[in-house]
Amino acid sequence: MDITLPILILAIPITMFLILGIGGVKMSRKMAGVLGILGMGTTMTLAYTVAFTYFFSGDPAFILDGVRQQFQVFDATWLAFTEKLVVNIGFLIDPISAMMLVVITTISFMVHLYSWGYMEHEPGFQRYYAFLSLFSFSMLGLVVATNIFQMYIFWELVGVSSYLLIGFFYKLPSAVSASKKAFIVTRFADLGFLIGILVLSYYTDTFNFQALTSDPSAVLSTTGGATFMGASVLTWALVLIYVGGMGKSAMMPLHIWLPDAMEGPTPVSALIHAATMVVAGVYLVARMFPLYLVEEGALTFITCVGAITAFYAAVVACCQIDIKRILAFSTISQIAFMMVALGVARPDLHEGMGYMASMFHLFTHAMFKALLFLGAGALIHAVHSNNYTEMGGLRKYMPITHWTFLIGCLAIAGIWPFSGFFSKDEMLAAMFANDWLWGAWMTMVAGLTAFYMFRMYFMVFWWEENPHYKEHKPHDAPWQMSLPLIVLAAVSCVAGFIPFGEFVTWNGEPYHIHIELQVAVTSLIVAACGIALAAWLYMKKNNKPAAMKNAMPVLWQAANRRFYWDEIYMFITHTIIFNIICKSIAWFDRHVIDATMDSFAKISQKTSVAIKGMQSGNIQVYVLWYFFGAVILAAITWICLL
């Protein structure tokens, strides 16, 4: 493949970042917006070209005997730690990275376009586009990484872009603290990632993904059976690396930053905190999947964490009133779905279908979740509030938003023929194939998903009209915002019919998707039940929801407060670490270490004050001392001589 296109895919966004970042102050808004959108559009075109070339050109570098190959377009040395441990910056293309290129650039372009309308009146518009470009660059760099260290580099960069974008409204203290929280929590997770990388690279002497994944058993043998606390070091390394993924993908217990990250502008939530960055953890596991296969312990860990998180987030989502928070928790739940699907995937179970299904869901989820977020953005734009209590009955006022939002909800609920149905069905099938327990559990979560999504849908678009509408009539968004909604809705409608298994499988061999009828029917019924329940409760204004809330106040309160995770974290970080550890260390430093150093000075000062009276300048006293001294010396000498 020609090296120019891949380089341009990375170069255009970073150039845009520099241009908009440095020159943005001098630029008009229009200029900045056009530049940003044009840049992203070009990148998207190039990414499509690259992906298309990869999937369809039939070049033996890409597909050999029907098996899709990994291909490093380029791989240049960036930093050589040792002769073998070399960090390269490169461009790896394989099914998942090509798929991600498409997803990222598409959503990013949509968000660029959408923001043109959404952010129109915000100060710092140029800065916003600069940050979006920086994010796109980092995310693209992350997915095309040829080695785990490159991934880590861009991993950190997306973290920072996320920080900058969450804190975009930097005058709001809530936005500032949310951005700080997001960065620090993911940073903490990255610590695990880093240590995992260190452990892995210590034993394998390489960072390169191809070297690591092409022969996992060789990797296993390099560790020489070393163990730590009962588990092999490879398990440790993989679990630690996964901890990095847990942070970025908001798995329990590192999920707390994602709901708060909704303080950022809504398009940003759509791009970063729904479609692309948060799936980086899934992508990371998928990228190293062959390695995880040799250590099933790590995979089991992933599955368990995913299953718990999925259920937890779904329950919490049922009890939120902020529509962005509901979407955030649904994101957590859906990502956990992908994680579980990856965790249950085995080569011998439907040829590793879980992997394919997970990637498929990643793809469809990105589309419909971006759609939902952008729809939510349109709602917020119209109503100027995040809470559904300020909304209700909006279907008449905002038809485009209503219909696209409905499509999104149907897709996420897994209703045929929308895209979510197909991917979720594959995932559930993979889970049932592994163990019926996972399948049943996740089917229940799928039902909850349908319930809370339609709860939100009915509360926003049906229920009862808000009386404020008479003063301030809500209306559909301008075309820059509607167009992305329509495009994404269209994609969500048809994406399910893409023969995804032909393109993306864990080993590159094509897999023919077929609907598992039993699973499909079960999940459809469960989803339909969820929707029906939501409709029964929330379609018309009534007292049933309030009655339910009053029936179990403790549970509702706990779920509404997200089961007090934030309080626990607050206690640990603020009370224990900040107030107890940090303050006591600072105190220790001032009053023990520094005081010791000062006391040396004080002692010598005191001594000198005590003896400086002798240096009175009075010659008579000197003579006296001298004479006494001489007498004593003479006496001593005398005694010695005797």
Partner: protein, 103 residues
């Protein structure tokens, strides 16, 4: 009864002790100078006595005493000049008053 060397050395020691006492206790600069002369004198007497009793054939002790007297004269002259100057500036010759140069 013979006048041995101790006969001269003992008065010299006592005179020296008097000088020390005076030097340490007097407040007046001139009085201190007087005490100094006493000590110097005691030392001179020692020179001479030792010369006479231990090396009667030589005259080093006497010569040194001569020089000492000359130097004592010089020293006294300068000291008294300084004292007079101090008196002009400070108004008296009390050693405790002369502290301007101390700091």
């Amino acid at each position: 009864m013979d006048l041995g060397i101790l006969w001269y050395l003992v008065p010299s020691v006592l005179m020296f002790a008097c000088g020390v006492y005076g030097f340490v206790t007097r407040k007046n600069l001139i009085a201190i100078l007087i005490s100094l002369e006493l000590m110097l004198n005691a030392a001179d007497l020692n020179f001479v006595a030792f010369n006479r009793y231990l090396f009667p054939g030589m005259m080093e002790g006497m010569v040194f005493t001569l020089f000492a007297i000359a130097i004592a004269a010089a020293e006294t002259a300068i000291a008294i000049a300084i004292i007079i100057n101090i008196y002009r500036v400070v108004g008296n010759t009390d050693i405790n008053e002369v502290t301007k140069m101390k700091f």
